[in-house]
Structures are given as structure tokens and as C-alpha cells.
């Protein structure tokens, strides 16, 4: 979490640290309730890893909304498509996946993730041009169009791959856990955390330290003004949409490996989770989305351990609690 604080320390009129401390406070508060420190560490690592994966999936959605005022109900489709494309790479190269060498495993995982991102990104281009372009500025139609897109994508996946669940085993060297004392940390979760952090830092750096990021942030604040300065905001937005879709594809791949299975309904299922994260974080805010993802994952993991029955509705309760406190989410970026 220290990285976040350092990056957020950029010149800003006012820094709002309370939401940032929320995951830390939650994690520490849970320690006495859970009792055993080793269980607590395992659960915390599990929630951090899960949170990072959810963040990767949700970041695209929040960016797209913050920037283009487009509510994409079809975001889950990119997640599912990413996962399916990854199976196209991972299943034929099963020998490499099963090889007991980290290098070979990564050599097959990397192209799988890249392929997933490429296809999801390309699909994002098509979706933006075909579905969203005609209905810019009309929320009602956007919701309807993208919901339609989600149906079509899910059904197309069923038609192309069939309704069965595709098992997707983890690469050999990423299975199992590191054991430190009596604490067990699953290897894949460490990788997921690493990737998540890299993505978060990359987005933050791009948004805060590059010219494109400057334009994007300016576009969020006041789109017409940026256009008046001669920048093609529409093209910028298309780029953001594609990057957001590609990230969803990456997240879908990671989620599929985490669950070790792929199914066409996963896009639909994850849409709800991603929405909750984005609402908690405040539509359009990357930091908010990051914190929201961590909170959702923590509540799911701690809640599932302490009160299994509550886990069914824990997300909703979290959302209600956060929105009661801050009706526009943790960080409200847009003034809309």
C-alpha cells in the first residue's frame, strides 16, 4: 500500500486518505476476530490476489465511464472472451504448461495473456464502433445496446465452444504454495498480486506522468475544452476503450487460471462483481476502483471464513455501507 501513498502524493488541491486506509483498517480489525495469525495471513494474501484480479477487470470499465460517460454493460463479455482466447493458446501447448520449469510455464502464459488482450482489445474496437458510437450521450440506449452485446457475445461463445466447462489447469510450477513457518501462500496468488500491482502502477504512471494521461484526465474534467484546444478526444477515447477491453481480457485470463476453468457464463457472473467494485470506488476513479476491488475481495474472503452464510450478500452489504457514507463512491471523479 505504500506505493499508492507515494503516487497519490502528487500535487493536488486536497488529499483524501481515509478511503486508502480503509483496506488496512479492515484487515487489522479482522486479525483478532480470526484469531490465528497464520490463517489471517493466508486470507489476507488471498484477498489481495483476488482484489488485484478484480481490479484488472474493473479498471477498464471505470476508465471508460469516467472518460466517455459510457456505461458499458457488456464489459463482462471482454472478460469471458479473454479467458476463451487464452485457452486457445494454453490447451494446445499443454506439454509446456505441464513442464516443471517456471521459464517454460511463463513462456506459454505470456503469449496466452497477450493473445487474450489482443483479441479483447480488437473486440473493444468493434464494439465501440458498432454499438457505442451511434448512441453516445444517451445512457438508456447505451445500457440497452451493451446489454444486447453481452447476450450476443455470451451466446456466440456457447455456439463456438459448446456449453461445457473447459478445465484449465494451472502451470505446474505455479501450483502449490510457499510455506513459511505455518503460513501457506499459494504461488499463483503471488503472481496475480504482482501482475495486479504492475497494472495499477502502469495506469497510474500513464495517467499522472505522461502527456496522454494528462489529456485523458483533462478530457474527464472538461471534454469540450480539450477538444477546443485541438485534440481529437474521440480518438483518445477509442484508445482508452480498447485498453480497457484488453485489461478485461487479461483479467479474464487470470481469473480463469485462478478458478482453473472457463465457462461462457463467467462474463455475466463477473459483471455484477465488477459493477459493485466500480460503484464503491466511484465511477471514473482508478484509485477508488483499486481500493474497492481490495475491499470486495477482503469482505468475500474474511466473510466467507467467519460467517459463511453472510458471504452470499456480503458484497451488497459492503456497497450499501460505502454508499451510505459516500453516496458517490469513495472517490467521485466526474461532476456528472
Amino acid at each position: 500500500m505504500t506505493d499508492v501513498v507515494v503516487l497519490e502524493a502528487l500535487p493536488k488541491p486536497k488529499r483524501d486518505v481515509v478511503p486508502m486506509l480503509l483496506p488496512v483498517i479492515l484487515a487489522l480489525a479482522m486479525l483478532p476476530l480470526i484469531g490465528s495469525p497464520s490463517t489471517w495471513v493466508t486470507l489476507t494474501v488471498a484477498s489481495l490476489a483476488m482484489g488485484m484480479m478484480i481490479f484488472i477487470m474493473a479498471s477498464g470499465l471505470t476508465l471508460v465511464f469516467g472518460l466517455m460517460d459510457v456505461l458499458n454493460f457488456g464489459h463482462g463479455a471482454f472478460i469471458a472472451v479473454g479467458a476463451y482466447v487464452a485457452t486457445l493458446v494454453l490447451l494446445p501447448l499443454a506439454a509446456w504448461v505441464q513442464a516443471d520449469s517456471l521459464l517454460m510455464n511463463l513462456a506459454v502464459l505470456a503469449p496466452a495473456a497477450l493473445a487474450a488482450m489482443a483479441v479483447s482489445g480488437a473486440l473493444g474496437l468493434v464494439v465501440e464502433r458498432v454499438l457505442i458510437l451511434p448512441v453516445y450521450g444517451q445512457h438508456l440506449k447505451q445500457i440497452l445496446m451493451t446489454t444486447g452485446g453481452l447476450i450476443v457475445a455470451e451466446q456466440a461463445l456457447y455456439a463456438l465452444w459448446g456449453p461445457q466447462i473447459i478445465p484449465l489447469p494451472l502451470p505446474t510450477s505455479l501450483r502449490g504454495s510457499f510455506i513459511i513457518g505455518d503460513i501457506a501462500i499459494a504461488k499463483y496468488r503471488l503472481l496475480a498480486m504482482l501482475v495486479g500491482l504492475v497494472v495499477f502502477l502502469a495506469i497510474q504512471l500513464t495517467l499522472n506522468r505522461s502527456k496522454i494521461g494528462l489529456l485523458i484526465r483533462a478530457g474527464v474534467e472538461n471534454r469540450e475544452m480539450v477538444e477546443a484546444l485541438g485534440y481529437r478526444v474521440r480518438r483518445l477515447f477509442l484508445g482508452v476503450f480498447m485498453v480497457g477491453s484488453a485489461l478485461a481480457g487479461l483479467g479474464g485470463t487470470m481469473w480463469a487460471l485462478y478458478r482453473e476453468q472457463v465457462h461462457a457464463s463467467m462474463g455475466n457472473d463477473l459483471t455484477v462483481l465488477v459493477f459493485i467494485v466500480v460503484i464503491i470506488g466511484g465511477l471514473g476513479s482508478i484509485s477508488g476502483c483499486f481500493i474497492g476491488a481490495l475491499l470486495v475481495a477482503m469482505v468475500a474472503n474474511y466473510g466467507g471464513f467467519l460467517v459463511p452464510k453472510l458471504a452470499l450478500v456480503s458484497n451488497i452489504l459492503l456497497m450499501v455501507a460505502i454508499l451510505m457514507w459516500r453516496p458517490r463512491g469513495l472517490y467521485a471523479v466526474t461532476s456528472r
Binding site: L71, F73, L131, P134, V135, H139, L140, K141, I143, L144, M145, T147, G148, G149, I151, V152, Q155, A156, Y158, A159, L160, G162, P163, N268, T271, V272, F275, I276, V278, I279, L283, L312, V313, N315, I316, M319, V320, L323, M324, P327, R328, R336
Partner: protein, 357 residues
Amino acid sequence: MMILSGDRPRSRILNVLLLVIVVALAVTPFVFPGAKAMNVATKICVFAALVASYDLLLGYTGTVSFAHTLFYGIGSYAIAIALYAMGPTWTAVATGIVIGLPLAALLALGIGLFSLRVEAIFFAMITLAVASAFLVLASQLSWLTGGEDGRSFTLPELLRPGTVFISKDWFGVPVNGRTLTYYIVFIASAAMILALLRVVNSPFGRVLQAIRENRFRAEALGFRTVFHLTYANCLAAVVAASAGVLNALWLRYAGPDTSLSFAIMLDILLMVVIGGMGTIYGAIVGAAVFILAQNYLQALMGVASTAAADAGLPVLPGLLHPDRWLLWLGLLFIASVYFFPTGIVGRLRELARKSPR
């Protein structure tokens, strides 16, 4: 035309279409007495009312709610649980209705007040999240809801198929408890649709449309938009729950797949868009067209799929498989939002305006 609240179909073709649908539904038990035809006709009645209530939200206030199946499900489950627990009596039916409808209204009030506190844009997302949580709850709390299996129950004596009022000799088909159930569904649905028509043409309905067009301006005119939107939400929820009651009475069953699933929500969305948003009549047309297609076109797709498979074509059999019928509906849905945002009813009215009699 007092019964239509002065809001006529306003198109000659639409007049004929509605008349055909209503008459066909009214005579179904005598003209098409088969079990399948009766099921299809009942489904059209129930969904016409359900979609009309959704139209009140989507078409007249412009809010997208994904929680409509939630209320439909509450109605279904209320009647199912009551009849399951208390046995096949009319008291149980009354209990189910007395508990189910206010519960739906209360929940709608809760969701409405909560999401009005937050940003309006969150409404669709929050309703989606709440609906999915409810679906999980319904399938997990098996002591109450029967879990994934749902709850089957027996109807009161009077509504059972074994109760014959007029024997076969009179009309060629027996008039029994099933026929009575059908007419209860038919008349209740018709009454609800007419009531909704009344609501949207009242001053209250005009305010809803004003909010849809420009919420800020409606507020500036002095209307408490919060009150109007919440009220519309509760009204729609009560009608949806009533439709759920009717559906459960006909099926003698309530389960997650028949009353709560996301697929039903999509069906409702498709029907309201295809029929025509903001018209109420669109609900009748949309439900009839959609359910007829769902029940009879799917068979056609199966034939096409086998034909394509026999011809040795690649992907096509998979795409044409009857289970993939939502794929084509999704495409149709996108196309209709894009090309015919006013749906069948809106289109017919435009035609009628262009060529005055």
C-alpha cells in the same frame, strides 16, 4: 373510450393487431385446447402485464431497472410458499397475496430511496446487483424456497383440472378448473394493463414523462421527482408481483429458473423494446410476438440446424441450434434499439401519421 383512458392505439393496423391478439387469447381454451397452446396463451397474458409494468419504468420514466424479475419472483414465491406450507386453501392464496404484494412494494421503496440517495446513473447497476444477490439467496435458502428445485404446490379444489364445470358435450372441450384458472389469469392481466394505461394517462403519468424528457426541468417546475420516481417504482413492483402470482398459479410451481433468472429479465427487456417503449400497448404486442416466436420458431431453428449439419457445414449447426436462440434475439435486440427505437407500436403509429385516413 373510457376503458382505454382516452389513449387509443392510434393506428388502424395496430387496432387490428391488438384485437386479433386479445380475441385469440380470449377464445384459446375453446379453439386451441391443447396443453402447449394453453401454456403459450397464459405466458402471453402474464408477460403482457409484466412487460407493461416494466414499460412504466423504462418507457415512461426512462430508468433502467434490472430488478424487475425480483418483484416477479417475490410474487411467485409468496404464493408458492404459502400454498406449500398451508395446504391448498383459499386462505393460503390470500395470505400469499397479502404478504407478497406489500413485500414487493416495500422492497421497491427501499431500493428506490437508497438509489435516489446515490447517483442516478448507479440505479441500473445497483438493481442488477440486488437482483443477483436475491437470486443467490433464493437458491440457497432451501428450507424456505426449496433451493434450485423450487416449490411445487397443489391448487385449491376449484382450480384443479379434475373439477369439471361443464362437461365435454357442450363445447367439445371440458370447462374445468384449468379453464377457470386461465380466465382468472386473462382477466387479471387485462385489468392490470388497463390500470397501467390509466396511470400513464393521468397527471401523474404526465409528470413521469416530463421527468423522462428532462428531470432537471421537471424539478424546476416544482414536481418532487423523487416522490414520483419512487411511486412509479412501487407501482411497477406491485404489478410485477401480481404477474408473478398469476404465473405461479398457472404453473403450480415457483423456482429460480421460472421466476428469478437473469434470462427472464432479458426476455422482458427484449419484449418491451420490440413491442415499443413508452406505449403500454407495446407490451401486449411485444409479449405476443416474442413468446410465439420463442415457442414456435425455436422448432424451426432445430430443423435448420439439423439440415446444416447434414449438409456438412462447419459452425452453422452450432449457431442455428435451438438453444442458441438468444444469440439471434440479441442481434435483433441491438438492431431494434438502433433502427426502431420506438418498436413495433411506435413504427405503426408513425406510418399512420404519415398516411392520414
